[in-house]
């Protein structure tokens, strides 16, 4: 019992450490003053209306959403077959290839962003939006390969062979037997990839340009010029949206599906 008590207190402290900053942000979003302060004086919802009515916030948020969805979907199209090939066949230099696919997660984001900026924007004059898309695709691909790969490692490939012997061709077998059994891996990869693209700052900082702004870079820019509670208010809205998504995921797939 004593041990449980100590563990309980410890868990509470860790939990508090994670939750208090979020609570502070939520609280500051309701302050009347023109700067972010804690504790707040007065109570208002005006920062929320300012956030919702801010053209740059809303459009950059929508852009980030589209960018993240697009990059994630393309990464799934490329990453799932790659993960399948790595798990199914004895590819020469398998370890090396796996390491290579994971390299964007090892290289600091700033370095990756700068390198992409130098090559794609400065040298090749690729349109900003396209460059940004390529950058984000590159960031999320390793997550897809890694997560889908680990769920494929648990997949019993004799199921595939069983389907072949029952008369099904190889490509159709992939869709009817392999895919349905790695959906939890694919949805986890989708979510993680989406979140990583949606929140990404270092690559986006280099790859955005006039008229092309992601949500995190817009918020950064806003914070640099002023410090009123619009950003906390906007963050609260994002948190609510996230909780909503998680709720839907829990009701449909179950959160456990994401951690498998």
């Amino acid at each position: 019992m004593r041990k449980n008590k100590v563990l309980g207190i410890y868990t509470f402290i860790v939990f508090a450490f994670l939750m208090i900053p979020l609570l502070i942000i939520v609280v500051t979003a309701f302050g009347e003053a023109d700067i972010v302060q804690f504790p707040i004086k007065g109570f208002t919802l005006k920062w929320f209306s300012k956030a919702i009515n801010s053209q740059s916030f809303v459009s950059s948020c929508l852009f980030s959403f589209k960018l993240a969805i697009g990059a994630t979907l393309v990464a799934l199209l490329v990453g799932v077959p790659a993960a399948y090939a790595l798990a199914r066949f004895t590819v020469w230099g398998k370890g090396l290839i796996k390491g290579f696919f994971l390299s964007p997660t090892i290289v600091p984001g700033t370095v990756l962003g700068f390198a992409l900026f130098q090559v794609m924007i400065v040298k090749m004059h690729i349109p900003t939006a396209v460059g940004l898309f390529c950058g984000h695709f590159l960031i999320v691909l390793p997550y897809v390969i890694r997560i889908v790969g680990s769920s494929l490692e648990e997949f019993d490939f004799s199921m595939e062979e069983a389907a072949w012997t029952l008369g099904m061709g190889k490509i159709k077998t992939f869709f009817t037997i392999v895919l349905p059994n790695i959906t939890s891996g694919i949805s986890a990869a989708f979510l993680l990839a989406f979140i990583n693209s949606f929140n990404n700052v270092p690559v986006s900082m280099f790859m955005t340009g006039p008229g092309v702004n992601t949500m995190p870079t817009t918020l950064m820019g806003y914070l640099e010029s002023g410090f009123d509670p619009t950003v906390p208010a906007f963050s609260v809205l994002l948190m609510i949206a996230t909780i909503g998504i998680m709720f839907v995921v829990e009701k449909t797939l179950g959160i456990a599906a994401l951690s498998q």
Binding site: A162, A163, T165, G167
Partner: protein, 345 residues
């Protein structure tokens, strides 16, 4: 020509050394043939060649007069039961069994009829709507069997299908497999490393070693008359004595003692082998032929009997028996190797 015919099959994974070295096998229609051997002997590779997962480097695979060597897996119409069962976890028992028929685009009523028939035969009634995760090991095994049989395959392939079951269930299932196989009259190739399993179920057994078949015969003949030392060792012969032919059925061992062997061979130099169970303990004064004495090195209690390891002039000899009189380590024992139990390899 036999129903199934494998001729000079060579398989190599790395292009340097062969896993199968010119393997030949003939199976008649309706027979159940086992491939028996230790791991790495090539039995699973042989099965995978037949199934079509591996294309042999050379050789030919004929079935019912048709050359199938280059026909892809999904066009062969064979039933295969895997060691891991490989049931589709996202489909119900019914849909698992119906899978092969749906692939063939059979009409719904016909599928329903055939699936329910085979579900009945495989004793799976009432489980149609369950998912594989909610089945016991024996039930999964039967679903795998039903899924393979429902398509009325030309050939049934079983890849160690019983090794994941506990001992009692294994015996029930092998009886079940044999019953279904002979009822449907389906030609079957069964891969196993368990000799009891293989002997009890097979019409013929092919004992494999190092990528070739060492002996292909009925279970009775393999059990009582192994042709090579490898086969003898694999099926439980433990004592190997160097013998050279004297005259008639008499052979002499290296210390000059005489052994009479009923089933002689024409070789001048060979090895006489005998199971530990078939050696009898005789009084020390017995000086007839086929006897040898030695000192007890180890005594092991086996439950039904004792096992003695003896140091003799002919090498180590393992004997089972001696429940009437217990021998201690270091004591001298005299044993007789009956002439009708010695096999020459």
């Amino acid at each position: 020509m036999a129903f199934l015919n494998l001729s000079d099959i060579c398989v190599s994974y790395d292009k340097k050394h062969n896993v199968l070295e010119g393997l030949n096998l003939e199976i008649n229609e309706g027979e159940l043939v086992s491939l028996l051997g230790p791991s790495g002997c090539g039995k699973t590779t042989t099965l995978r060649v037949v199934a079509g997962f591996i294309e042999p480097v050379s050789g030919k695979f004929m079935l019912d007069g048709e050359d199938l060597t280059k026909v892809p897996v999904h066009k062969r119409n064979f039933g295969l039961v895997f060691q891991s069962y490989a049931l589709f976890p996202h489909l119900t028992v019914f849909d698992n069994v119906a899978f092969g028929l749906k692939v063939k685009k059979m009409n719904k009523a016909e599928i329903e009829k055939r699936v329910m028939e085979i579900i009945e035969v495989c004793d799976l009634k009432g489980l149609e709507k369950r998912f594989p995760a909610n089945l016991s090991g024996g039930q999964r095994q039967r679903v795998a069997l039903a899924r393979a049989l429902v398509v009325e395959p030309k050939l049934l392939l079983l890849d160690e299908p019983l090794s994941n079951l506990d001992a009692k269930l294994r015996i029930n299932m092998r009886v079940e497999i044999k019953r279904l196989q002979s009822k449907l009259g389906i030609t079957t190739l069964f891969v196993t490393h368990d000799q009891e399993e293989c002997f009890s179920i097979s019409d013929k057994v092919a004992v494999m070693n190092g990528g070739v078949i060492e002996q292909y015969d009925t279970p009775e003949n393999i059990y009582s008359a192994p042709k090579t030392e490898f086969v003898a060792r694999f099926i439980g012969f433990e004592n190997f004595i160097d013998l050279s032919k004297k005259e008639g059925s008499a052979y002499s061992a290296k210390d000059g003692s005489i052994f009479i062997v009923d089933n002689g061979q024409d070789k001048d130099v060979c090895k006489g082998t005998i199971r530990p169970d078939n050696i009898t303990i005789v009084p020390l004064s017995d000086n007839s032929e086929n006897t040898v004495s030695g000192t007890v090195l180890v005594r092991t209690f086996l439950g039904k009997t004792y096992q003695y390891e003896l140091e003799t002039a002919l090498g180590k000899i393992v004997v089972n028996g001696g429940n009437d009189e217990l021998f201690e380590t270091g004591q001298t024992m005299r044993v007789k190797l009956p002439a009708n139990k010695i096999v020459l390899v």
